[in-house]
């Protein structure tokens, strides 16, 4: 939010939060309005869009809200993740001032397996497995919900499939994986992972805001490195464990320590390399990852 407000090309920001506006940490009375709304409640969203958003002649909507806890499932979560987006898109399409919609999607929508390319382009297969957890299925559905409106709706839609941002509060499974002092990982495998910093996340959103291009864009991070190097540079001890023991081990960790990392959901990303290919974002949006993660451990 701070970085967006520092952008002089942006006149006014309406920040939407599910919490009371008073707890919002960024204060900028002239250029920032904080509005509390539950996005799965269509009346509240309507009031938001045709009230304060219209009043400030907002032209671009950036939707980043997704239920972060991977353990939560059910209709309520689906309503927040998918139906809220669908409703928002419908309202934006007939809004008098909104011209552009930017959706922050995730690299988790992609399928990773041994016979697929390591470099993941926008045409790469999505994870449509029926047994995928709701956390993944909702993200795929939200992504596709936005994609199918491209070219149909009178709205420019950009979907940014972002690499995992190694930062708190982003719903990053990799960030949660790295929270314990010890990181258990599949023995015998050391895939390449690609990670994004918060600065580059904001930079990518900013590029998408100021572009008029429509489409799907991969947003890779500036850090591409082996999993074990990532663990070491984050200051953790990596211990290789046979693959079939990791699921139960992480279930125990979830129950005892409250961490959100689910091994089954992330297994293939910890075995096979999968790196987002970002040339389309570079050519069309002008986004180049240029802010590496600030690793706690400086060198190998």
């Amino acid at each position: 939010m701070r970085l967006l407000l520092d952008d002089s090309r942006i006149g006014h920001v309406v920040a939407v939060t599910g919490h009371p506006p008073e707890v919002f940490s960024v204060k900028e009375p002239k250029r920032l309005t904080v509005f509390q709304a539950q996005l799965h409640k269509s009346r509240q969203v309507h009031k938001l869009l045709f009230g304060v958003v219209q009043e400030h002649k907002v032209q671009v909507v950036v939707h980043t809200a997704m239920h972060l806890d991977a353990s939560d499932e059910g209709d309520r979560v689906h309503a927040f993740n998918v139906q809220a987006l669908r409703n928002l898109l419908t309202l934006c399409e007939r809004h008098p001032t909104i011209k552009r919609f930017v959706l922050r999607s995730a690299s988790a929508v992609y399928q990773v397996q041994r016979d697929l390319p390591i470099l993941i382009g926008e045409e790469h297969p999505l994870n449509m497995a029926g047994h995928a957890p709701q956390w993944v299925r909702d993200r795929v559905e939200a992504d596709l919900t936005a994609c199918v409106r491209m070219g149909i709706a009178p709205l420019e839609i950009a979907v940014l499939r972002m690499a995992e941002a190694l930062a708190p509060g982003t719903g990053s499974q990799m960030f949660d994986f790295l929270q314990g002092p010890v990181c258990f990982h599949p023995g015998g495998f050391d895939p390449m992972v690609n990670l994004l910093s918060i600065s580059d996340t904001v930079h990518a959103l900013s590029c998408a805001i100021h572009s008029d291009a429509q489409g799907v864009f991969n947003v890779p991070g500036a850090d591409t490195l082996p999993l074990t190097t990532c663990i070491r540079r984050w200051g953790r001890l990596g211990i290789p464990i046979p693959d079939n023991l990791l699921g139960p081990l992480y279930r125990i960790r979830r129950r005892l320590a409250g961490h959100d990392f689910r091994y089954g959901m992330n297994r293939r990303w910890l075995i096979y390399s999968g790196v987002l290919e970002g040339s389309r974002a570079q050519e069309v949006l002008g986004f180049v990852p240029s802010h590496p993660i600030e690793w706690p451990v400086l060198c190998e």
Partner: protein
């Protein structure tokens, strides 16, 4: 796998000299930011690969290289070779021979069958030395970056062919030809003599192979390969990058004709090699 580049280099230095380490550091590498390329290759592991393979290359199989001047110094290139011997020793010999006989040193990227990246330890170590899984997307990315690929167009049927069919090429698949045309790559045919006799097999079992997650498991007569002498013959490059335009990669007849030319070239090289060599072990 906590196999650090520093450890790889330390192990390499136990058996190879500084010049070899320096050569490995000079290989063309598109560093993704932490010393590795996007596919996981690292120079320290290239040096380790040389350290591990060199004794077999120099002392056991006593490899002789013919025509390596035909390997281009740069640019997208596919080395297309016959495949044999039940275990991919031929790939290892070719990998090291190219590394030693190109200047600046080039790592030829083996394009492996899909199951290889899923092998614990082996998949990771091979990736560190340049191997990538055999998907079209991986090959495309590497060729577009001007890299040198190692492809065995016979595939698995080539490596497990029975001893009685040695030096009789299985039908070359056409994927390498299509890739070369589409991405403007040269094809250098390579005839590998020696590998076809290294490890005669009793039979090859698909059922046992499936249990291990591989297409087929050869059951060799001997547990280790024989000390056959390897001869690597590099033929004249087939300049599909000059003869065809990328859109012609969708012409099945052209692709088939190029694959057939490559197969014929490899066959010629094998015939030459068999005529010139002084016995299987000589």
């Amino acid at each position: 796998m906590a196999f650090r580049p520093a450890i790889a280099e330390f192990l390499a230095r136990l058996t190879v000299d500084d010049e070899t380490i320096d050569r490995a550091r000079r290989v063309h590498l598109r560093d993704a930011g932490h010393g590795y390329d996007t596919f996981g290759m690292h120079p320290s592991f290239v040096a380790l690969g040389e350290a591990v393979i060199a004794p077999a290359f120099e002392k056991y199989f006593r490899c002789v290289s013919h025509g390596h001047d035909n390997i281009p110094q740069s640019g997208a290139t596919i080395l297309a070779a016959n495949h044999s011997g039940n275990i991919p020793v031929d790939g290892a010999m070719l990998w090291l021979d190219v590394l030693r006989n190109t200047e600046p040193p080039r790592v030829c990227r083996p394009i492996a069958d899909h199951f290889v990246p899923s092998l614990p330890f082996i998949g990771t170590l091979f990736a560190r030395g340049g191997m990538v899984g055999g998907s079209r997307g991986n090959a495309r990315s590497l060729l577009e970056a001007g890299e040198l690929l190692m492809i065995f167009p016979e595939g698995v049927p080539g490596i497990v062919k029975p001893f009685s069919k040695r030096y009789q090429l299985e039908r070359f698949r056409e994927g390498h030809a299509e890739l070369a045309i589409r991405h403007g790559a040269q094809i250098v045919p390579v005839g590998i003599v020696g590998g076809e006799e290294q490890m005669p097999a009793l039979f090859a079992s698909q059922r046992l192979g499936r249990l291990l997650g591989i297409p087929v498991l050869p059951i060799p007569i001997l547990p280790i390969p024989l000390p056959v002498r390897y001869h690597l013959y590099y033929g004249e490059p087939i300049r599909v990058d000059q003869e065809f335009t990328p859109d012609q990669a969708d012409n099945d007849e052209i692709v088939a004709s190029v694959a057939a030319r490559v197969q014929a070239s490899v066959d010629e090289l094998l015939k030459r090699g068999l005529a010139e060599r002084d016995g299987i072990f000589g």
